[in-house]
Amino acid sequence: MDDSVRSEQAIEVAGLRVARDAVVGVASLRYFSVDGTFAQTLQRVTGLAPPGVLKAVAGPAPAARDWILAWRSPTEAILLSADHKALSGLGAALSNCTDGCLVDQTGGLCVLRASGPRITDLLIRLGGWACVPALGESRRGRMADVPVLAVCMDGGETLLIVERVYCDHLLAWIRETAADLT
């Protein structure tokens, strides 16, 4: 877990920890082709191609977690990076593309980091089974009655990406649910 995660908001029960990552930068990548100029520029800068359907990818150095790309729709991936300068640089590099664009969503989309063996127990209480991601998956679904993109990058952590206006609601729902996870 990144030290920058705001611990004062963490929800912790046995086997589960959920905390808001207030540092990570978030962007929507919108593109009309997965092999055009936009995708090539993206790959050149981040080392990552647009992810396949329901896939999430990280890199170039997985341990460093420089970039995470999560599929959201056939024309959209969500990009996460704790390096805001690099995110701005990517935005600049992509700004001249006509087959795709980067829309900065930092502050608009919030990221919750959930870890622990009871993640699945939590997620099936927030929404349908279909929105629970397997390892390397990115699934968009309805949790706590709000739209959430759930991304599983390794066995121990799942990212819940939610609009800022719904974040407090989702956290409150998680807090109540976690309290009943006995």
Binding site: R30, G108, L109, G128, W173
Partner: protein, 970 residues
């Protein structure tokens, strides 16, 4: 009857070493761990449990399960008082408090029982034809007060409920021998298998009969990692194999838990294949006095004996129409009960089991009367249909009823399955599998033990392998007569015990030509209530068939719908209570506004400041002051909820031309334009401002409430119609906060806090857009105005707005500026005649109705809704059109919703008032209205009517203020 417990091994479900105290109707009793309230009451000799729904007749325990029609009690106290709990399902616990329902002042002396004396004037549907003079409403309160059952708590439910979503390859509903067999074989075939059962233990009827196969199958299921859940009642089968079930975590009404516990869990299980193994209910016999306490189902009496060790009577008569009566009689006799006789309605030729030794069997006979009011004292037996024998009275304290079986086909029916009538056993059984759901065991009409096991196993394996299930080998229930009642005898013969519906009521319905079973149900209330007719439906439709000359399959059954059993509202709500009732959007600067005295209200999904009242100010006073301040000097407004979209792509300009009545492709970079969004019917669904940020990039403001709707509409057009377009629609409402500075001194104020001089009104014109920086923060600034004043809508990344608010607020006094809320904004936009989508428009409003008809004339290109605007009806001059109204007395505020008409109602209206405020700037009330031919009625005096009051007003042109629009330019 006095209570009695049989000696072990009877009572396999109770722990005699643990005594539990409870209270019923204020009196203390004791039972054993494992008892239900019903078994404990019967063990204590309590037969009178409650009063009936309509006639307040004494009622006792009738069954031993979910089908219980009469043994209903209110449980718990205060906030945890739960009404109409089935005593047959409620496990007792230390401190349990239960009360009878529908009786006053007491169960024994119930004044409501007087209605029984007047039952002759209270037949089925009496409220449709009696108590009409002088007025039904005169009698209605008293009748409603006397009817009904338990009383629920009016306090907030203190407990919690949750929802869990899971999936399975094979879901088995029912934990009896059939369900276990299916689950074991499905799991053995490699399917992820879940088994749920409403019982507290596995095994069903064979479980409490001590069958060793149950333990063996349960062990196999555990070894195969079948996910098994007890106390979990499947109550609904929905589309695509979604099964909903309620898991009971703590018993109803317990006060021992505090302050709040997780009470129930809603399981939503999506399965590839569903197996229903829900068993069957025993069908009661219909005879005069069959509702008396002490009359109960024979199978229930056996279950009370075997599972709870409870004797339901010492001298028992069994009224039979089924072979199942005989083993019950034998078992009870073995336990020392005096089985006085089996009174079998059938001729000897239909009996398929050996007659029990030592028990008198009277064949071809029926019960013609029951002695006793609050407890059975005896019954009269008569010969029927040609059988020989004299009427005789038998003394007994319990009368057991074994009319046959009714397979629990509810889930099969909910899944869309059809039924067929099995005449020899007088029951409806599934006619093949339902879509996605296969029935096994008794609920499939398969009653022979060995066949049940093999068929269920084969079904489990076939479904696990994705194959079709084998056909059900229906049979094994023996032969029953279709009709169980006795024609031509006196006395009330109850068909539906819970709703007090008698054979006479069914006959009356037939005489009044209610032939459909659905009409019968609604006319008589048969099959309604908490039991949903589990013990009454078959007898009802059989008797309906008899009275109308039809066989049961011709009469048919009512459609079984979810829920199978009553479900608490709390379970449906789950976590959605209090703060979690619905997701409420808060402004990023919510706390900042709160600290400055904002009064918040919910507008759509948003919690927004409506005004900032000062000491002693009402909301209206505050809004008047704020609006006047903005008009005079300047104001600061949080517009963050305003919908924001980024539209990108080589085809963005073409696409926006299609989406808006206005032409957006001609906008130069940095220009902005107002536009209206229509649906394909030409109806206005949203409006807003489109600004061009670059060659292929646009900034779109929608209404606050309409952004999701508009974004979804744009996506739908792109995905379904304009699929060749390269356009991306990205919602960014949450990303960007909005700080709006408006008023004649707005620019002075912004300049004072350090805004770039290039943003001055002289260089940045009304309806223009700039990207800028302020203190290192990127800004997107739009010169647009909903107030009619010089206005800067400053968009900046969410989280940065508080700093900007602080900087502006620190200098506000210098410019005579103040904060303003939604209410002041509403005043100002009405003064300017600006519409608010959904307030001034509705699902009929076309652009021409609000003065935007010229958009159609001026735009040559296609746009969504255009064709509909060309219809003659859309050009009808009599349509409602937006106008201004001012009261003729210059003082009276016109009520919103007031109907404009030439005379008082009932009169055809000419329109209605849509928005109305007092204008501080004009010193009089002003209103917007939609008025027929409004554009041609300027200067006309009209009348508006609201709640009996008439208002006079004059139709005036819009806007009320600054018609030249000088103010917005600064």
């Amino acid at each position: 009857m006095t209570g009695k417990r049989f000696a072990p091994p009877a009572g396999v479900w109770i722990d005699r070493s643990r005594t539990i105290g409870f209270t019923f109707n204020g009196r203390s009793y004791a039972g054993f761990e494992g008892d239900t309230l019903a078994s404990a009451l019967l063990a204590n000799g309590v037969t009178l449990v409650g009063r009936s729904f309509k006639l307040h007749r004494p009622r006792g325990i009738f069954s031993c399960g979910v089908e219980e029609p009469t043994g209903l009690v209110d449980v718990g106290r205060g906030a945890r008082r739960i009404p109409n709990v089935r005593a047959t399902l409620l496990p007792i616990y230390e401190g349990l408090v239960a009360e009878s329902v529908n009786c006053w002042p007491s169960l024994g002396l119930d004044l409501g029982a007087l209605t029984n004396a007047f039952s002759g004037v209270l037949p089925a549907g009496f409220y449709y034809k009696t108590f009409k003079w002088p007025s039904w409403r005169l009698f209605e309160p008293a009748i409603r007060a006397m009817a009904g059952l338990g009383r629920g708590s009016l306090e907030h439910d203190p407990d919690r409920y949750e929802e869990v979503n899971v999936r399975a390859d094979v879901l088995v509903i029912g934990g009896g021998i059939a369900g276990l067999s299916a689950a074991v074989r499905a799991a053995r075939a490699g399917a992820s298998t879940t088994l749920i059962t409403s019982g507290r233990t596995l095994g069903g009827a064979l479980g409490w009969r001590g069958d060793p196969a149950v333990a063996d199958l349960a062990a196999q299921a555990r070894d195969l990692e079948v996910n098994m859940r007890t106390s979990t009642m499947a109550f609904g089968v929905y589309d695509h194999n979604l099964v909903c079930a309620c898991e009971t975590l703590v018993p109803d009404g317990s006060e021992l838990r505090s302050p709040s516990v997780l009470r129930e869990r809603l399981w939503k299980i999506r399965a590839r294949a569903v197996v229903a193994a829900t068993g069957a209910f025993e069908r009661p016999m219909v005879f005069p006095g069959n509702d008396r306490p002490g009359v109960m189902l024979a199978g229930a009496a056996e279950k009370y004996a075997r599972a709870f060790g409870v004797a339901c009577g010492r001298r028992v008569v069994v009224s039979a129409n089924s072979d199942s009566a005989y083993p019950v009689a034998s078992y009870l006799r073995e336990q020392g009960v005096n089985v006085v006789a089996i009174v079998d309605r059938r001729p000897a030729s239909l009996v398929g089991v050996p007659l029990p030794a030592g028990v008198r069997v009277i064949q071809g006979a029926a019960i013609a009367a029951v002695a006793g009011t609050r407890a059975v004292r005896g019954c009269k037996v008569i010969a029927v249909e040609g059988a020989q024998g004299r009427p005789e009275w038998l003394s007994c304290d319990a009368l057991l009823s074994a009319g046959g079986h009714t397979p629990a086909v509810h889930l099969h029916s909910q899944a869309g399955g059809k039924l067929r009538w099995l005449d020899e056993s007088a029951m409806f059984v599934p006619d093949g599998p339902a879509p996605g759901l296969t029935s096994v065991g008794a609920c499939a009409g398969v009653f022979a033990r060995e066949i049940v096991e093999s068929h269920a196993s084969e079904t489990g394996e076939a479904l696990a392998r994705g194959l079709g299930a084998p056909p059900a080998p229906v049979g094994g229930a023996g032969r029953c007569l279709t009709m169980t009642h006795v024609p031509g005898v006196n006395g009330k013969q109850f068909v539906d015990l819970q709703n007090d519906v008698t054979l006479g009521d069914v006959a009356l319905a037939a005489r009044e030509n209610y032939r459909s079973v659905e009409h019968l149900k609604r006319y008589t209330t048969i099959g309604m209530g908490t039991d949903q007719g589990k013990t009454s439906n078959i007898n009802a439709l059989v008797s309906m068939g008899e009275y109308t000359g039809r066989a049961p399959p011709e009469v048919g059954t009512t459609r079984f719908r979810p829920p199978f059993t009553p479900v608490t509202i709390g379970l449906y709500a789950g976590r959605r209570v209090g703060e979690l009732y619905r997701p409420l959007k808060r402004l990023p600067a919510h706390a900042w506004h709160e600290a400055r005295g904002a009064l918040f209200e919910n507008f759509g999904d948003w919690c927004r400041p409506v005004a900032y009242p000062r000491d002693g100010e009402t909301l209206e006073m505050a809004a008047q002051r704020e609006a006047a301040t903005v008009r005079r000097n300047a104001g600061l407004f949080d517009g963050s909820p305003l919908g924001k979209l980024e539209i990108f792509g080589p085809d963005a300009a073409r696409f926006l031309d299609l989406m808006y009545v206005g032409t957006m492709s001609t906008l130069a970079v940095g220009q902005a334009r107002y536009g209206i969004v229509l649906n394909e019917n030409g109806i206005i669904v949203d409006d807003g401002i489109v600004a061009r940020m670059g060659d292929h990039r646009y900034w779109v403001n929608t209404t606050s409430a309409g952004v999701e709707r508009t974004a979804a509409a744009f996506e739908e057009w792109l995905q379904c119609e304009y699929t060749q377009f390269q356009v991306a629609v990205t919602p960014v409402t949450s990303r960007w906060a909005n700080v709006t500075v408006a008023g004649p001194r707005a620019w002075e104020w912004l300049l004072a806090v350090g805004f770039d001089a290039a943003l001055a009104p002289s260089s940045m014109k009304h309806m223009s857009f700039r990207e800028s920086m302020f203190g290192g923060v990127p800004l997107r600034i739009l010169r647009a105005s909903f107030s009619g004043e010089l206005s800067y809508e400053i968009n900046l990344p969410a989280g940065r707005e508080v700093a900007l608010f602080e900087r502006l607020w620190a200098r506000a006094a210098e410019f005579g500026a103040d904060l303003y809320g939604i209410e002041a904004l509403q005043i100002m936009r009405v003064e300017k005649g600006y519409i608010h989508i959904g307030i001034d428009t509705d699902g009929t409003t076309l652009p021409g109705d609000i003065g935007f008809g010229r958009g159609l004339e001026r735009k040559a290109a296609e746009f969504v809704g255009r064709r509909s605007l060309l219809r003659p009806a859309a050009r009808d001059p009599d349509r409602l059109q937006l106008v201004g109204l001012v009261p003729t007395d210059g003082r009276t505020l016109l009520p919103v919703g007031a109907q404009i008409a030439p005379g008082p109602p009932p009169t055809r209206t000419h329109g209605h008032v849509t928005s109305s405020y007092r204008s501080p700037e004009l010193g009089k009330p002003v209103a917007l209205a939609m008025l027929a031919r409004g554009a041609h009625r300027i200067g006309e005096r009209i009348r508006a009517y609201h709640l009996g009051t008439m208002f006079e007003a004059e139709v005036v042109p819009l806007p009320f203020l600054d018609p030249a629009g000088k103010r917005v330019h600064g």
